[in-house]
């Protein structure tokens, strides 16, 4: 597999002086699903903003062989789409169809191509028949799916998803994971930011762990990372607290699927 994203020694500091990212380096292969995990405020979303060229950090970013700079920003954004954590930020048009067709229209496609791409994207997220619905009348789960359709209609090879399952009920999470599986089977490169270890276990090929010092501390196969309890505990991804199992009360770390002796 060819390398599709390369980030080297990326640093970012917010205008008020707060450190956003510290010495971030990693690579992503074409077609792989990399899940970036880390506690709240570890710079995961800031990393995405830098990858999309919205924030301008110091360091080297390469996407599909192009070094990210102001001159090729448009070309990079044609091939790489980002879905924001809050769907209300992503859905800014009066109707779902207006939102989903916004990207393809700006890519310069003609009306028939735009309609076809939009219908295809809506079908993929199971929102056929929602074209004329107003975005603010959708449920949160529907908004999340509509938000991903707004990017899928542009048919990008790389998708950046910021906390895709946060705030969703179990059925919506399951629907979302199915959508991600479909995208994965289509050969899309997925970069997912989350602290949901269940989602990570379900979808990740490789996992990148961000520490509370805003820098990556580990990268590797998902099984290897998810079985490293010390690493997860140290980086605030699992926690220990008093816990009750009927008559037995004791401390242990929490992690999805972690089976332990009582």
């Amino acid at each position: 597999m060819a390398r599709i994203i390369k980030v080297s020694k990326l640093n970012y500091r917010y205008p008020d002086g707060t450190i956003g990212l510290k010495d971030v380096s990693f690579e992503v292969e074409e077609g792989e699903t990399m899940v970036i995990i880390g506690a709240n405020g570890t710079g995961k979303s800031t990393l995405f903003m830098n990858l999309m060229g919205i924030l301008d950090g110091d360091g080297y970013i390469e996407v599909v062989g192009l070094m990210l700079n102001k001159t090729n920003l448009k070309d990079i954004r044609r091939g790489m789409g980002m879905v924001f954590q809050n769907p209300d930020d992503q859905l800014f048009c009066p109707t779902v169809m207006d939102d989903v067709s916004f990207g393809p229209l700006n890519l310069g496609l003609n009306a028939d191509q735009v309609t076809e791409a939009s219908q295809k994207a809506l079908a993929l997220v199971d929102l056929q028949g929602y074209e004329s619905r107003t975005s603010h009348h959708l449920s949160f789960g529907e908004k999340k799916r509509a938000a991903i359709a707004t990017v899928l209609s542009m048919n990008p090879g790389i998708l950046l998803l910021d906390e895709p399952t946060s705030g969703l009920d179990p059925r919506s999470v399951s629907k979302f994971i199915n959508i991600l599986y479909t995208l994965k089977s289509q050969g899309k490169t997925l970069l997912i930011v989350t602290h949901d270890l269940f989602l990570t276990q379900e979808i990740a090929d490789r996992v990148l762990v961000f520490s509370e010092e805003k820098k990556p501390v580990a990268v590797g196969d998902y099984k290897e990372i998810l079985n490293n309890y010390d690493l997860l505990l140290k980086n605030n991804l699992v926690h220990q607290h008093r816990h009750r199992h009927d008559e037995v009360v004791h401390d242990h770390e929490h992690r999805h699927g972690y089976i332990h002796e009582h």
């Binding site: 448009k74 924001f84 209300d88 930020d89 009066p94 207006d98 229209l105 700006n106 009306a111 990017v151």
Partner: protein, 179 residues
Amino acid sequence: MSLEIGNWKFDITYEGVWTFLNIIVKSTLSIFLLVTATSTTTFPDFLKGLDMLRVPRLLVMIMSFMYRYIFVLIDEARRLMRARSLRYFGSRYKEQFRVIGYMIGVLFIRTFERAERIYSAMIIRGFSGEALSVKRFRFSYMDILFMVGIIVSLVCIVSGLVHKIEHIRVSGAHLWQGL
């Protein structure tokens, strides 16, 4: 012709009555059109119509954003009000005004930050300043029929009104003669 109410004396003139009728007909028609437009056209279609009528794009976009985010902002404001009322146990007016000032400030900052995120979402989907839409309106036979129907109805209403006015008599004389 003049009308006396107590110490007040009103002179009724032909021009005055005509202006009065003019205002009544115009305001009635405006309300009639507004009610018809809002009950038959969705807001997104209304915006598209404005765009096709060459209303400045910037203005149409601002209206579109207002329509999309007004409910989000109202929700945001409600949450702030709720949070305040849950921790409010009565205080001096001065203190209350200070808290309301903070809330307005917080709402402004949140709105500003949201606007920045929305703009980011727009530019990464290729926005270059022009609002495009895939929706196209076509003039169908039904639209022509509807328009002809409206024009015929308006002509009937207006001619009926003129006919009625011409036959109104005040003190045995025609309205126009009486004035």
